[in-house]
Amino acid sequence: MSNSLNIVYLIPLLPLIGFLINGLGRKRLSKSLISIIGCGVVLASFLLSIWVFMQVKNGNVHVANYFDFISVGSFHVPFAFQIDQLSAIFLLIITGVGFLIHVYSTSYMHHEAPEHFGRYFSYLNLFIFSMLLLVMGANFVIMFIGWEGVGLCSYLLIGYWFKNTEYNKAAAKAFVMNRIGDLGFLIAIFWIISKIGSTDFHAVFSNTSKFTSADITAITLLLFVGATGKSAQIPLYTWLPDAMAGPTPVSALIHAATMVTAGIYMVARSNVLYSMSELSQNVVAIVGLATAILAATIAMKQNDIKKVLAYSTVSQLGYMFLALGVGAYSAGVFHVMTHAFFKALLFLGAGSVIHAMGGEQDIRKMGGLSSKLKTTYITFLIGCIAISGVPPFSGFFSKDAILYAAFEHNPGLYIVALIGAILTAYYMFRLLIITFTGKFRGTEEQKTHLHESPPAMTIVLIILAVLSVIGGFVGIPDAIMKGGDKFSEFLSPVIPVKHGPITSFPKENFERLLMGVSTIAALIGIIIAWLQYRRYQYKEPNAVGKFLENKWYVDELYEKTIVKPLNFLADLFDRELERSGIDALVNGVGKAVQYGGRQLRWLQSGQVGSYVLLMVISMVLFFVLQFFLRK
């Protein structure tokens, strides 16, 4: 059927073309041409996404079928894109924030040689392409292709400076942990195929009667395993802090705004399934909340500016999963959007600081940067306020929606989440205060090099700061303004609006009360941070501090319990099965042939006498054989 939305194939196609041109021509193109192509294709996709959003707003939702991707017997997987409200929002986030980060990168990465500059932009474009496939796919298989693609690009980009072995190890760690989650995702897909016979979202979500409740629980838990890998939740989160080895714009794009939100998207898309399984929802909520608190405690004691932001990302993702787990799917997606704005802002601001400090990332060597880096400081401050959830910035609306939904589900969850909110405000302002205020603690040389970043970086920071301020106004809860939650309203065809249980208070007033409580909690966190860190001097942390600074020793735990045994097993297999077994067998065949050849060589002695003897012997044998055969 012809629908104007059929041209949405252009949205992922353009970044793919950008990837090919920049990737194949990276040794021939100039840096400015690479920048234009790299940013231009994402801009074009963004403009198309805006048009798509307008179309969807007018009610034009569509599944665009392009061709048969897999066709085996009665099992068909079409290459199809589903354009509805959920994918439209994610399209805007990915292409919009992605475009801003591309522009930022042209300035941040300008030190690189043209060949590597081109490689960087080609990987970024490939990432955008994969992420778009992920959110636009109309069935789980296309989603999985994008899922794998973003994992690959994450590996390529984390290990961008490939001459450093530590960075390569971080990239491999990210990829392997992603893969562990992917196994869960795959098994879930297979399970769905075996029960429904198709992976199309339409088919799966309208035929849920074909699943038993055990099926649903298993499938949703397996899908969640995939999400823990991709979106860095317990237990598969340790790759994300290590992923800070990559360039800062990569951390902003992949590990803050887009790839890590793929898990959220997947659960939100499958909300029909999750709503049918109480157990899975509880698991999602509890894992999310636990991750949020764990990461927040670790962030409180980190000394690398990017690591604080990394753990902050893990923590905020935990909040999003908490929202999904209590049934507030649109609140989770709302937080994805606002988080994309302020987290990208924070990361890019950190990049600006690192750029000014000539590569230094340790906040103990910073301080007093606010005077020299005015724009960076102000935008970073805006980002910190937004993430702390202070009204009327965007983070307040999304976080409050999550907290309110958590309270409706279980007040205990609310208390813990509130503590997490206090910690969030605390560690973010700790970071701000140590980095930007006080006395400069770096070297003299670093001090002379301090300078504000070029416009390509600062303008992006300003744009993101504006979005962080006003981005929340699309989701104003009913308690403040009736009918103000345009966000949930927009998503309602895909994500049914949740009607929570009526509490004993009048609902509106209670919500306003909770809003006040969360604002006060954020302010408490900010004030405690200010009191503790305004005259900052690095002191050796006490025992608890050391425990938090060393990330609860989780990496060491994994190393001892999983990595060492696996390595031992792999070595064992290598020695016994590979070398002594298979290699010995194959080489043995070769050796046997050589031995046989050596021995047979003696037959060719060149002595006519032995030749005649052999002739006689063979003739005799011939006759004997004839004799027996005749018999």
Partner: protein
């Protein structure tokens, strides 16, 4: 005479010929042994031809039953003669090169 005797004699001659070919060093002796083998087969052919003729002539007095055996012997003799002439020519060439007729010097075939 019983055919068995001829068979045994022929086999004995043949085997002696083979043994001689395999073990003797002098090329001319080897030739003699080859001739011995050929003659052993000749003997066998003639003996069988006589046997068939005797058996056939009991039924029909003017039969030509065993003649092909004896005819074949002529062919073998012709072949033997030709072969001996060629072989002796080779031995003469060999002698001209290494001044000996010892066949142990014929070990160049592996090059």
């Amino acid at each position: 005479m019983q055919i068995n005797y001829y068979i045994f004699l022929s086999i004995a001659l043949f085997v002696i010929g083979i043994a001689g070919v395999l073990t003797r060093r002098n090329a001319i002796i080897i030739f003699m042994c080859i001739e011995l083998m050929l003659n052993a087969t000749n003997l066998l052919l003639v003996a069988f031809s006589k046997m068939h003729h005797l058996a056939a002539s009991k039924i029909d007095a003017a039969t030509t039953a065993g003649t092909d055996g004896q005819l074949f012997v002529f062919f073998i003799m012709v072949v033997a003669a030709a072969e001996v002439s060629v072989g002796l020519a080779i031995i003469v060439m060999m002698y001209r090169n290494i001044h000996s007729v010892d066949v142990n010097f014929l070990n160049r075939l592996k090059h």
